[in-house]
């Protein structure tokens, strides 16, 4: 009779290990999925930029500098390699685009050009989507890290080789933000 006690104990332990392992696996897969979503949005931005540049070029003859910066940043971002390289290139593209939006504000005629406004809206939406998918990814990474590091789970995590993943952040980009509150002005 007494032999049943350790047997049930072992069975329960096995169940517990299996449940936690499965949970860690599904969290890890969600993190990977969220990472690919960011790529999708970045690509969308790459495709929209040439259209916007060609539409506003006719109106903004004196802003060649800004336009060229945007085009150059885009080319760099498409050809960037590696996680860090990509993140840096995408950040500089965001900066160039912000500069372009600020300049577009001083051309009121552009407001009546439907194409330009439409493209600007699409680009603003894309920036938002990139930000939201980054946010979602970071939230998932935080969840996963908590799950790996808290006490009962960390034993299982380390024995099955679950590793922490990196947050998607490139450090100091927010400090260089221009003063204009873009998204509230460009309706």
């Amino acid at each position: 009779m007494l032999v049943w006690v350790p047997v049930t104990f072992i069975v329960l332990l096995l169940f517990w290990i299996i449940i936690i392992y499965n949970r860690l696996v599904s969290l890890r897969n969600e993190v990977k999925n969220a990472w690919t979503q960011i790529d999708v949005q970045l690509k969308r931005r790459h495709d929209l930029i040439p259209n916007l540049v060609s539409v506003v070029k006719g109106y903004m003859d004196f802003e060649r500098n800004t336009l060229e910066k945007v085009t150059a940043a885009r080319t760099r971002a498409i050809s960037a390699l590696g996680v860090q390289g990509k993140a840096l290139a995408e950040t500089s593209l965001t900066q160039a685009l912000k500069g372009l939006f600020v300049v577009m504000e001083s051309y009121p005629v552009l407001k009546s050009n439907e194409n330009a406004m439409q493209l600007q809206e699409e680009l603003i939406s894309t920036e938002d989507r990139i930000a939201f998918s980054r946010q979602f990814y970071n939230d998932l990474v935080a969840n996963f890290s908590t799950a790996i590091e808290t006490f009962p789970n960390n034993i299982i995590a380390s024995s099955f080789a679950f590793h922490k993943t990196e947050y998607f952040s490139v450090g100091e980009d927010d400090k260089e933000r221009p003063a204009a509150e873009l998204y509230s002005r460009t309706r």
Partner: protein, 546 residues
């Protein structure tokens, strides 16, 4: 006092769970009592003999009643909530967003963004309610279908980040299952109401045993309504917290709530029981009461309290909020006015002005060779030499290269061009500048204020309204309609259009075709109508006399 949104969510979670359990418990009590009542009717003698027991000690009997009531309740829930979304959307007249409209496209983009930030866990459609009131609601039914609906009035009055905050709030209601619970609760109350009516009908005839049961139902109904209101209030706080968590922008939600709360146009009338699904209680904004009883019986927490919590997160105060909202309202109209004033030499060789670029370009006789100057004693130049005016005039020329539509202008008999006015598609004649608008798109154009009301339009509006007022008086005195201008044919179907005033409050003449549901505005009439409604120039009002 919780300072961050995470703390608020944690605090409110367990309370909601407890309340909801109580609610479920009460539903089952009611159905058990209902079954008892039915048995009472069917087997009155046994019950009277044993002295009206409402709860007997017999376990098997209780279990049977429990299971039976569970089955009946389940059937009722499923039957009534299965197609709730379709029914509610049809009731409100909601339509999917219009892809040809700039602001609706922005709405579609925002809903996509919400899907991204929630990880695409659930597909939510969005619909637009063609009402000028300001409200948003979320509905979900047991089939898994879910919809976020927003009124035209709200969509056109909020900025992009404010719309995001409102939609995130509604999306949370759907994702957390609140909407399904609320729809189910609403259908349950329908069951009680129907039952009580039937009991009232029965009660006239007989059986003293009926009355205590009736009273019991009534008490349970009121108590469950009260409890459910507590639950829904807690849920609103929770949804506000979740919206901030998604958009990381508490200020935008506070501003949106502020605009909704102080809006004089109202939040519209939504059917009974559905108020719980909206972002703000339609009746609260109408009455603006605070105080214990009002706050007990309302389905939403008072807007002021919600704003305070949000503003505390943003380290701002309500005074700051007021200033920002007022500034934003003014700022959206000033782009035209801040451009600088010009004087222009008109064909009669008189200097006219000061006027803005928008006004200048709208003069029918303006040409690139007109002389303009920034002020007396300043340099005089040709209009084409000024960069801004040149660009505006060039815009007019390039616009005529736009797409022709199959519709013809009733006055000029030329094809109409598609243009975008207030971000929505309308058809304009390049010669007489008359505009054809679909009936469904007109409310949007009236609400939106992208295009400022120029001085010229305002004075034209006043003149037109006064003129029409006099005409109505003349008609009354002369006793019959005198129509001096012939009726024009419809651009689509070529039948004669009906000439009426837009409404008796706003006396602007328009031509309407009732077969095709379109409205024809002569040159400037659409701008005049917008100006009249914006400034509320009704017959006999003060703004008219200025």
């Amino acid at each position: 006092m919780p300072l961050t949104f995470i703390d608020i969510e944690k605090q409110k979670t367990w309370r909601i769970a407890v309340f909801f359990l109580l609610l479920v418990f009460m539903y089952f009590c009611v159905t058990a009592a209902l079954v008892q009542g039915i048995l009472l009717i069917i087997f009155p003698f046994q019950f009277i003999k044993s002295g009206f027991p409402l709860v007997t000690g017999n376990l098997l009997y209780l279990f049977v009643v429990f299971v039976f009531s569970l089955i009946i309740a389940a059937i009722h829930f499923f039957v009534s909530s299965l197609n709730a979304v379709e029914a509610i959307m049809n009731n409100l007249g909601a339509v999917p967003p219009d892809r040809e409209d700039g602001i609706h496209r922005r709405l579609i983009n925002i809903v996509d963004e919400i899907h991204i930030v929630t990880g695409n866990k659930r597909m939510m459609r969005c619909m637009v309610i063609p009402s000028l009131s300001m409200n948003a609601m979320a509905v979900a039914d047991l089939r898994g279908d879910s919809v976020i609906a927003i009124t035209e009035g709200l969509l056109s009055r909020l900025t992009r980040s404010q719309t995001e905050a409102v939609l995130a709030h509604e999306a949370y209601h759907i994702l957390s299952g609140d909407c399904m619970e609320t729809t189910v609760a609403a259908s349950l109350f329908g069951m009680y109401a129907a039952m009580i009516e039937r009991l009232q009908a029965l009660g006239e005839e007989d059986s003293p045993g009926i009355y205590p049961v009736f009273f019991l139902f009534w008490i349970l109904l009121k108590a469950s309504q009260l409890l459910s209101m507590f639950v829904s209030r807690e849920r609103e706080y929770r949804a506000d917290a979740a919206s901030v968590r998604m958009t990381r922008n508490p200020l935008a939600l506070a501003e949106a709530l502020h605009r909704i709360g102080r809006n004089a146009d109202g939040s519209g009338f939504i059917g009974s029981g559905l108020e719980m699904l909206c972002i703000s209680d339609p009746q609260e904004t109408a009455q603006q009461e605070e105080g214990v009883w009002a706050s007990l019986m309302s389905t939403h927490p008072p807007i002021k309290k919600r704003e305070e919590i949000l503003l505390r997160m943003a380290h701002a105060s309500i005074a700051d909020l007021e200033k920002r909202v007022v500034k934003a309202g003014v700022a959206s109209l000033t782009p035209a006015q801040s451009q600088g004033q010009y004087y222009v030499l008109n064909p009669e060789r008189h200097w006219q002005g000061p006027c803005t670029v928008a006004d200048l370009v709208s003069f029918p006789w303006i040409s690139p060779r007109s002389w303009i100057s920034t002020g007396p004693g300043q340099e005089v130049e040709r209009a084409s030499e000024n960069v801004l005016i040149h660009a505006a005039l060039a815009e007019r020329i390039t616009r005529s290269g736009q797409e022709f539509s199959p519709f013809t202008c009733p006055l000029c008999k030329q094809a109409l061009h598609e243009i975008s006015y207030e971000k929505t598609k309308v058809y304009q004649c390049n010669y007489c500048r008359g505009i054809m608008v679909d009936d469904a798109r007109l409310p949007r154009i009236i609400v939106r204020r992208e295009i400022a009301c120029t001085e010229r339009i305002t004075s034209l509006a006043r003149a037109a309204t006064k003129d029409n007022q006099n005409r109505i008086l003349m008609r009354k005195m002369q006793g019959k309609a005198v129509c001096t201008v012939p009726l024009v044919p419809c651009p689509k179907c070529h039948n004669s259009m009906m000439r009426t005033f837009y409404s008796l409050a706003y006396l602007i003449e328009i031509d309407r075709c009732n077969y095709c549901d379109i409205i024809w505005f002569d040159a400037d009439e659409l701008a005049i109508l917008q100006c009249v409604i914006e400034n509320k120039m009704t017959a006999g009002s003060d703004t008219l006399a200025e």
